[in-house]
């Protein structure tokens, strides 16, 4: 039998005490292992710690002013008192309209790159363009928006021009995340569908998109949070320092109106307007940061939930 050969008695008798004793090398390795772990953990925490510190400091400073009325009131006395309603509503408009433009284009562009495009130089150029579009500085997007939408297309400084600028700026976010979501759908699903006679588009609509909807939604939500925080692209294309609107009126802005925006409002009251009470910019910063982080957290929760339900 083969077992008898391998279990032949060992001629060297091993004392259980010495057999498992740590050698100097093992001790050194354990120590360096610990040291390495500690070093890199410290580095990571030093990057994360500021986030917690900053968020809690901002909330602490803003606490006296934070209330639902702060969001729903108009600013008064030259933006030195009152709330942020026109800015809050303006941000909703800008983000909403930019989403209407960038979500369909972005998702379809990702469908093209993942489902139709062949591996050739042209596809490489498209991918390169997406990467570069993501890397264009926000202020250059602002110059583009001013040159193309405000002046060339004659939209003037308006919500429409600012939203379109934001849409182009955030397009790469949607393309990248949608592409990833589509890529996660197994090829076998598509092949099965083609085999029963479905066309490319039928396969995409009935099989690929429903199976990747969670990833696509996550990308769209991330676009929302990115667009809500941007300042530079809207500064010269449609956002203004001050605009009074009816309190509580959610249809106060038209497509060709100028509007306020939260990010722009924070910039204005913290740098351009003298003698603003301290809590006011802190409150605005907390509302902006809170909105963005909430939207992001929503994307994360959605992703974790849907991943746990995934069937393959």
């Amino acid at each position: 039998m083969s077992t008898s050969a391998t279990t032949s008695p060992n001629p060297v008798t091993l004392d259980p005490q010495t057999r498992f004793r740590e050698t100097a090398l093992v001790r050194r390795k354990k120590f360096t292992e610990k040291l390495a772990r500690l070093t890199f953990l410290t580095m990571t925490l030093l990057m994360i710690f500021p986030l917690l510190l900053i968020v809690s400091y901002l909330i602490y400073k803003a606490a006296p002013i934070l209330s639902i009325n702060f969001i729903l009131d108009n600013p008064v006395r030259g933006m030195r008192a009152g709330g942020i309603w026109p800015a809050f509503l303006g941000t909703l408009y800008l983000v909403g309209i930019s989403l209407l433009v960038s979500a369909p284009i972005g998702v379809l562009a990702a469908v093209y790159l993942n489902e139709y495009a062949r591996e050739n130089w042209f596809t490489r150029i498209i991918n390169l363009a997406v990467v570069n579009l993501a890397g264009v500085p926000s202020i250059v997007h602002a110059l583009f928006g001013l040159g193309a939408f405000v002046l060339f297309a004659g939209m003037g400084r308006s919500i429409l021009a600012a939203s379109l600028t934001l849409a182009i700026m955030t397009l790469p976010v949607i393309i990248a995340s949608t592409k990833e979501a589509l890529g996660a759908v197994p090829t076998a699903f598509r092949e099965a569908c083609w085999n029963v006679g479905a066309t490319r588009w039928q396969t995409i609509r009935r099989i690929v998109l429903p199976n990747s909807i969670s990833g696509i939604l996550t990308g769209i939500i991330l676009q929302v949070s990115r667009a809500a925080g941007e300042t530079a692209p809207i500064m010269f294309t449609g956002a203004v320092f001050f605009k009074a609107i009816e309190k509580g009126d959610i249809f106060a802005y038209g497509l060709f109106d100028q509007s306020m925006a939260l990010s722009m409002h924070l910039f204005t009251i913290s740098t351009q307007v003298p003698n603003v009470p301290e809590a006011l910019p802190y409150g605005t910063a907390v509302v902006l940061l809170g909105t963005v982080l909430l939207v992001n957290a929503l994307a994360i929760v959605l992703r974790v939930y849907l991943r746990s339900r995934k069937k393959w």
């Binding site: 972005g106 500085p137 250059v140 060339f152 809500a228 957290a297």
Partner: protein, 297 residues
């Protein structure tokens, strides 16, 4: 053979056409950006602007009555100094965090850290700028007994915090791409954890890590609101990290509102935009080529 109705095949064609068009749109937009920014600045670029002087003179006096001078060297120095400082902070910490997340974390902890880093990346730049303007400003004045805290140091730290998330996430991808067999082989030979990182992981993942750093640089060069608010407003060569500077991006953001449309000053700001576009284009192209280098291996 399945017979499809004529209507169906026509719809299919139309939808395919729309999808194709959307696919090409990214190229269209990149060219569009270059075209429209170039278009607004081209008049002055080809007649009037002394390009040699533009790139080599530190004198930026766009609104002087008697002698307007457009030299961006000091602004370039501002961008370079803030970017360099931020990378000096962000690269070691970012790569360290990437190594920790990729090599030392269990799956649960890894997920947590990734979420926190994602949230860090989501903080809007205007909020970072506000933090620089209020919190960091006071801290720097207290710590260094400086007259003003809006300095290269302030902007550098803020930009470092802003570009760390991108370095961590791309860097972690790069380390994940190193095959496990490399690590196992090194450990089987008796390497300590440090030796595995130094001798195996860093050399094997160096292209991806380089791409991570390049993307971080691209982000730092192009950042506008944070540096506008945190670095002060003096056009000068910084002699130390407690000097105020002005970057290329901040100059556009600060002056575009005041420059009359079509004036020389207005056009020069668009030319600075072209310069910025070119710099980030080259940085992004370089990082893409580096990543492509990995894939071909």
């Amino acid at each position: 053979m399945i017979n499809r109705s004529r209507l169906e095949s026509v719809t299919e064609r139309i939808i395919e056409g729309i999808i194709r068009f959307c696919g090409f749109s990214a190229i269209l937009f990149v060219f569009g950006i270059f075209f429209f920014v170039f278009r607004e600045g081209s008049g002055f670029l080809f007649s009037g602007l002394d390009i040699g002087q533009f790139l080599t003179s530190p004198e930026w006096f766009p609104t002087s009555v008697s002698n307007k001078r457009y030299g961006v060297l000091a602004l370039l120095a501002g961008t370079a100094s803030v970017t360099a400082l931020s990378m000096a902070i962000a690269v070691p910490f970012g790569l360290g965090a990437a190594i920790f997340v990729s090599e030392f974390c269990g799956p649960k902890l890894k997920e947590t850290f990734k979420i926190v880093i994602e949230l860090l990346a989501a903080i809007p730049s205007v909020v970072w700028g506000f933090i620089g303007l209020t919190v960091m400003n006071g801290v720097i004045i207290d710590l260094f007994d400086a007259p003003i805290g809006l300095t290269v140091l302030n902007g550098g730290i803020i930009l470092a915090l802003m570009s760390v998330p991108i370095i961590v996430s791309i860097g972690e991808d790069a380390l994940k791409a190193v095959p496990d067999s490399y690590r196992e082989a090194a450990e089987a030979l008796g390497a300590t954890r440090w030796q595995v990182i130094y001798r195996v992981l860093l050399p094997a993942g160096k292209n991806g890590l380089l791409a991570a750093v390049l993307l971080g640089i691209g982000r730092a060069v192009g950042e506008t609101m944070a540096v506008l608010m945190a670095t002060g407003h003096s056009v000068q060569f910084p002699s130390n990290i407690l000097d105020s500077v002005r970057t290329l991006t901040a100059t556009i953001a600060a002056e575009l509102g005041e420059a009359p449309v079509g004036s020389d000053h207005y056009q020069v700001l668009f030319i600075i935009g072209i310069l910025l576009f070119t710099i980030t284009f080259i940085v992004n192209l370089a990082s893409d080529l580096v990543v492509k280098g990995i894939r071909n291996k």
